[in-house]
């Protein structure tokens, strides 16, 4: 193993890791927004929204994320959508993970006992008040862990945007392999950095989960 080479190039990998972190955070935020909207649609009283939600979920879970990214980034300009690679990466991955998060959020909401809604509605609370003050606070606790699983998947999923040449961890490894012919060292380096990011995120999720339990 060429330790000297690793010591020489690692600052560039750190920069790339920062890009991966930015990608992950923005994707997670967009994913949560799409997931919340998706779950609201899936649980709507109105059939049309339920259909839209179901189509969204099956479309984005039923096709490879890589194809979705390609359609957006390479196919987009043909229908008038011009995005740079980073933007396309965030939007493509965010909308994709949002489909998974839709199911996570919906699952947590329907896991809350129906008696909770009945008790609050019986007191006179509206559908929305019952959701806001009784169901969602309980569901939020239930969804922290499974959303953590979604976020773990999305961080690893950011590797896909190397294919549309966003200079993040995977792309950087590929680039340095091109000039050094040392794939073992380069992929090991980026893999290690992925692991650190994922481990730290996992700890953060576990902390949130513990905190939600106490109060």
């Amino acid at each position: 193993m060429d330790v000297d080479l690793i010591l020489r190039v690692y600052p560039f990998f750190l920069q790339a890791a920062w890009v991966t972190i930015q990608l992950s955070v923005l994707t997670a935020v967009l994913g949560l927004a799409c997931g919340s909207l998706g779950a609201a649609a899936r649980l709507s009283r109105l059939r049309i929204f339920r259909i839209i939600g179901a189509v969204y979920v099956s479309l984005f879970r039923g096709t490879p994320a890589l194809i979705q990214l390609f359609i957006l980034y390479f196919g987009g300009p043909q229908i008038g959508i011009q995005l740079d690679a980073f933007e396309a990466g965030v939007i493509g991955l965010g909308v994709n993970i949002g489909a998974y998060m839709t199911e996570t959020i919906r699952g947590a909401i329907i896991a809350i006992d129906r008696g909770q809604t009945e008790a609050s509605r019986t007191l006179g609370l509206s559908r929305w008040q019952s959701m806001r003050y009784v169901v969602l606070p309980q569901a939020a606790r239930l969804m922290i862990r499974p959303l953590g699983v979604n976020i773990n998947a999305l961080i690893k999923g950011t590797a896909l945007v190397a294919a549309i040449s966003v200079v993040e961890l995977t792309y950087t490894a590929q680039r340095y392999i091109g000039s050094t012919y040392k794939p073992f060292e380069m992929f090991l380096l980026s893999g290690t950095l992925y692991m650190i990011i994922i481990y730290a995120t996992g700890r953060g999720i576990a902390w949130l989960d513990r905190r939600a339990r106490i109060t």
Binding site: E118, A119, T122, L125, R141
Partner: protein
């Protein structure tokens, strides 16, 4: 439609698909009256109770509370506003308590008064303390539901319902999920309400309690009211064979316990 009893159910019917669970039910409850509904499981008694506050709306028939029709047919938005309003006047207590586990006892009680009656935190607090004192649980005001026994949970649930100052209270097998030694404390609270002339409709399996507290007893079976009358008649001298058979069976199982 002006001359209705305090609570009145007219020609109530309900089906789930092809299964008819309620058939032609009529019931009048005067202010301050206490009515027990008894019958085997699956007889429709809980469904009838849940129809009164639109948790399980009727397929046909009418439900009135103090001259206001509860199950009005209205466009969705208006209907929602209407039920949110009328439900404030109808307290309900469930078999499984349904306390909000993420809120303290105090917050369980103050949530609806604060949201719906615009009470300040101070007013709502005073109300919570008053209602808790009534069910004898002042010392649990800052506890979470998970820290309470079943009997205590049910008493808090009663306090929560009472905090909305309902005109009528519905009890859906309020003591069925309790250990036998915890039943009495809940019965005592209900007896106390009876003495204060709260209008109550009680679905119960406890014949002794029904007999001692209620003004009137309905025996339901197969979605219809089979027999109805004062408790001394229904329990001591029922006319209908089905009522007799039910009570006989019920007494036996209770003795065998």
């Amino acid at each position: 439609m002006t001359d209705t009893a305090f609570v009145e159910i007219r020609n109530a019917a309900k089906s789930f698909g092809s299964l008819q669970v309620l058939r032609d039910i009529n019931l009048k409850v005067e202010r301050g009256q206490i009515v027990a509904i008894i019958g085997p499981s699956g007889s429709g008694k809980s469904t009838l109770l849940r129809a009164i506050n639109e948790l399980d709306p009727l397929s046909s028939g009418e439900i009135w509370l103090e001259g206001v029709q509860i199950n009005k047919k209205l466009p969705h938005r208006q209907y929602e506003r209407h039920v949110n309003q009328v439900r404030q006047d109808i307290g309900m207590v469930f078999q499984h308590f349904n306390l909000f586990p993420h809120l303290t006892v105090r917050e369980n009680i103050t949530l609806a008064p604060k949201l719906l009656k615009g009470m300040s935190a101070g007013e709502a607090n005073a109300l919570a303390e008053q209602q808790l004192a009534k069910v004898g649980l002042m010392e649990k005001i800052d506890a979470y539901p998970s820290q309470l026994s079943g009997g205590q949970k049910q008493r808090v649930a009663i306090a929560r319902a009472l905090a909305m100052k309902p005109k009528v209270m519905l009890f859906d097998e309020a003591t069925s999920a309790l250990d036998p030694e915890l039943v009495e404390e809940v019965n005592l609270v209900m007896k106390q309400l009876a003495e204060e002339h709260m209008t109550m409709i009680i679905v119960t399996h406890e014949m002794g309690f029904a007999e001692s507290v209620c003004d009137r007893v309905l025996f339901m079976d197969g979605g219809v009211v089979v027999e109805e009358g004062p408790p001394e008649v229904i329990f001591r001298n029922p006319e209908n064979e089905r009522t007799r058979a039910f009570l006989r069976k019920h007494l036996q199982t209770n003795h065998n316990r």
